[in-house]
Symmetry: C2
Subunit: 696 residues, 2 copies
Amino acid sequence: MATDAVVSPQPESAREPSAGGYVQPAPDTAALQRVLDGRYAEVRDLVRRNLVDYAGLLEEAESLDRDAFRDRVLEVVLDIARTGQTGFGFPTEYGGGGDIGASIAAFETLAYGDLSVLVKVGVQFGLFGGAVLQLGTKRHHDAYLAGTIDGSILGAFAMTESGHGSNVQALATTATYDVATGEFVVDTPHDAARKDYIGNAARHAELAVVFAQLHIGGESQGVHAFVVPIRVRDEDGNLVPAPGVRIEDCGPKMGLEGVDNGRLWFSGVRIPRENLLDRFADVNEAGVYSSAIESPGRRFFTTIGTLVQGRVSVGGAAINAAKVALVLAVRYAERRRQFEATGDAEELLLDYGMHQRRLLPLLARTYALHFAQEEVAGRLHSVFSGEEDSERSRRALESEAAGMKAFGTWHATRTIQECREACGGAGYLSASRFAALKADTDVFTTFEGDNHVLLQLVAKGLLTDYAGDFQDADQFEMVRLVAGLALDEVVKRTRAHQLFERVRDLLPGGDEWDSEAGLRDPAYQLAMLRYREEQIISSAARRLKSGVDGGLNPGAVFSRVQPHVIAAAKAHQERVVLEAFLGKLDGLPDGEEKRALGLLADLHALSVIEEDRAWFLEHGRMTSTRAKAITREVDDLCRKVRPLARVLVDAFAVPEEVLRAPDLLGPVVVAAEQGDGDDAAHHTLGETAEQVADQA
Amino acid sequence: MATDAVVSPQPESAREPSAGGYVQPAPDTAALQRVLDGRYAEVRDLVRRNLVDYAGLLEEAESLDRDAFRDRVLEVVLDIARTGQTGFGFPTEYGGGGDIGASIAAFETLAYGDLSVLVKVGVQFGLFGGAVLQLGTKRHHDAYLAGTIDGSILGAFAMTESGHGSNVQALATTATYDVATGEFVVDTPHDAARKDYIGNAARHAELAVVFAQLHIGGESQGVHAFVVPIRVRDEDGNLVPAPGVRIEDCGPKMGLEGVDNGRLWFSGVRIPRENLLDRFADVNEAGVYSSAIESPGRRFFTTIGTLVQGRVSVGGAAINAAKVALVLAVRYAERRRQFEATGDAEELLLDYGMHQRRLLPLLARTYALHFAQEEVAGRLHSVFSGEEDSERSRRALESEAAGMKAFGTWHATRTIQECREACGGAGYLSASRFAALKADTDVFTTFEGDNHVLLQLVAKGLLTDYAGDFQDADQFEMVRLVAGLALDEVVKRTRAHQLFERVRDLLPGGDEWDSEAGLRDPAYQLAMLRYREEQIISSAARRLKSGVDGGLNPGAVFSRVQPHVIAAAKAHQERVVLEAFLGKLDGLPDGEEKRALGLLADLHALSVIEEDRAWFLEHGRMTSTRAKAITREVDDLCRKVRPLARVLVDAFAVPEEVLRAPDLLGPVVVAAEQGDGDDAAHHTLGETAEQVADQA
């Protein structure tokens, strides 16, 4: 590559053992890529090839008008569908790949490219196709799956309404059974009940899976899903809204303009009884409702629970979008010079301490999240393939998916922003990709479950040991659950006690475990995160209980305790992520890659502890001296990771064709007159292995 | 307004004195607006009227193609120029308003609307016009100012090059004096020296102020500014690039698509000797260079220093963009309901503790930054109007402008992001304004001085007591300055000592001052921020000195100390902002507005202290008990500010016409079936004054 001459990710000097015995690891890019790609390397490579074939789409996103771009996105989606890339998650008998894990890997990798394609794929195959597969039975599979997989049937997923997003149980659309005709009649009772932000609805979908309150004989059976034709062909063969269906375009959006989001209103729309997706409940011709799941709440949350794949997909995609940003920012920072320290050449941005601090902990966290996501995707696969499908594993999956989705998407927002700023004006040009990355990923934090609501779900599970329905986002129920218990029981119910025992197992150094262990001992790092998690969960439980006992109503109690509830979920998820990273490390063979990832895991873990050191100080689990030592260690780790940064981002294997960014990666931005080609010679800010080791 | 029936910003119950004697303040919106609008209320109202007149532009930004939108933006800029809004900063004899303070107020207020208009105004009147005014002399004023003010002359400001943004002294464009013809010859020696991201260059500008290395007789005199015609009329009267000038469009950008950013290359472009902007240096016909400022460095930084108005403008505009986001998010959160606590109606988002925590400290900070910005703008006015123009006041202005620009623009990025997420899917629609707010303001953090580089300037001033040239972004010079001094001298040179004495003046409670004062005592809050500032400055000075003494080269020293240097500047700026807020409060007459702003100042100050409580804990200036008390106080203040939130955002007086956002402010998103019109009745999450007081 043209840029290789300019950068020196691994200066020769750093390979010599220093006085302190520290030698920089020299990981191999391809070997690191194999660690990241894991079990589905071939699937990821298939997607990479498709991304290269359709790389032009990134420019078309800027040049085509909205309708043309939407049609072009659909065209690309249908083209890549033919390669099998989008069908991995469906049964082989309908033309799918029969491998849910592969389907997640493909989706994640697709996030390296245009994100309208990603979301369109998510709507058609994940949300619409997934609902038909998971909520329907053989009659629906036979009718729709083959067409969904090959794209001859285009569908939408009509759950959210203008008036209700997070609180799905309160949806207001109705489907009333008409026993006289054996049909359901679908209605939008008022304007706040219109279906809103529905992907594929404004332009392309013929069918929609519509979530509505099922009414039979004046009685409500709660929210169920129905297949509703929203468009039909007119006499000229054009798609027009079906009778009784009103469709409106949501209008321009911040990003994802290749996805045709729309609004739907239903007015007396009649569908056959068979269009109820009846895996968990059915209505017979006579209008008798039946379900194998007795409790209506349980039934609803079982229904919702099957849709967890969407969250796993979004979390993984977000992490990969963050990778693209890091590739750009790190490669730019290894080329771009600004200001002279000693009078010969200007310094590389990545040799500045602050620049390292801005980018390298984010790079470490990206690896951590990648491995945590790999675990969640693995669990999704084992649950949904039936390898390990139990009530308990479903709950665990739902909790992990919620936590990962929140963490992955917030990480993307933060990382893309930091990387854009680290690329200055050049990063502001659309050709540098940050424009689309920022705009397209922005909605990830609030769709497929608002991140705060998702973290509340996680916390509720932790606080009640899953006594309630996991998917029930009604946090007031948690307050009511707690209200009925004694304080001891509340705290015992939380999973905190088990955690604390595991802290003692990890570091048996008595009360001083936290100040005696080595900072770079993974057991210390994990013990800190476990201890924090335990404390915050217990404390949130106590606060809930004392609020209730103090006579405040459930609303006021929850309002006051909510920040602690969210903090509990975050602490939990941080521990889960670190465990995943350390677990992955444990399983790697000794070698340069393991050494490099070990540095990265330390950087990640200590950055997390440093960021929340106020909490540890407040809770007597850290001295000031130790807190300052952690900051020094993070600085030192940044210097050690700096020479590895290029290899670490190259291992993401984002195809060059989708990076674009001529002003970041091309030759122009380097102060070309000042010493191209022999950087190592005036590496004044960068330090040698000896200097780094002296710090250690 | 339609929405008034739905919200109850000031529930009646809250007005009754509670058991604890706490009564919610009841500020008047118009009175608060007067406090905010300050001295330039009329100017701001003029801009508000113009914003309403051209509110349609916000939709045109979405519907017009790029060229058409750029032309439309220019048209609007010229239209509003006719109202006098954009000319306040110019001398009256050329048709200006002769009031720099008014010019800043107008620019800030313009940020409520489309930001392409804002930036186009900034380029034409601030950068181009400002350079002619500040760097030119009468011949240039006579030739260009009247035309600049009325828009008949359109100009660009060509400083940044692809290879150099922050390091302006290293620009590579050359202007070589040809004594034979009495002309300067302007050249782009290599591709990294092309002028880049230049507003107005791609389409509209006829002239550019070009910054280039002045060469005379083989000798370089450093960077100077020249007026260069970049476009001329061809025989058909069309504007075409001038001979020797190559112009390229920068292409699509993340935002600000109404601004025509371009690239410029010069090849032997000849301009008359008189086109040198010669306020600080001149070249006579014979090619003899002369300047009243002897030192070339000093000359350069004096030149750059006159352009400080751009930074003041951007900082103020960013704060106002954040206000728009807060108006939307607060009004939405006062209407939008989700989840039932007690079975009658769902809860308002703003009654959730977490939602208060997300939005209200940002609202408080917006007020704080507004008042700090008002001070900087006031100083700009007094310096540039000659009221108080000294070396010292210029330095102070440059430092404050740099700090405010960084703080204001980062605050905008963060606030707009948080507010978007707080508005869910509806916030993602372009009609909700967040799309443009996010995309357009994004570049604010890196243009007009990269925020990190600006904070380094601030720190350098603090660390060297302004021994070097303030505008010199070369931080290695700071290291070299420090290198020559003894440690005592280094620390004495910083301004830390003075600060610490002021801490003792504020709270004379001995060593325990920090744990004995009341949390809501402004003297305590200020003492904490001063102490932190003093400590970090001293510590950064010590680290610099010990790095140098330890034999590291200046590059390595600076790289290591850089995060501390940035932290010093941030600590300084936080103190400056809080002082401004408290100073403003002091000057207000007693009353409901002062009481409301007092709560807000407490919320701001304690949020800042809470956010960095790790530092205070580490440095022995806070106990764990106190840290937790601060968190409780912030929670309590959030509950007290919550009923005021609507009035506080209404006082920004953002015209309804530019808010758009039908899905956030209109009736649809409220769960209309569930109890519109009598919110107060089921205000279960919201607490009464008694309950709030019980906490206090």
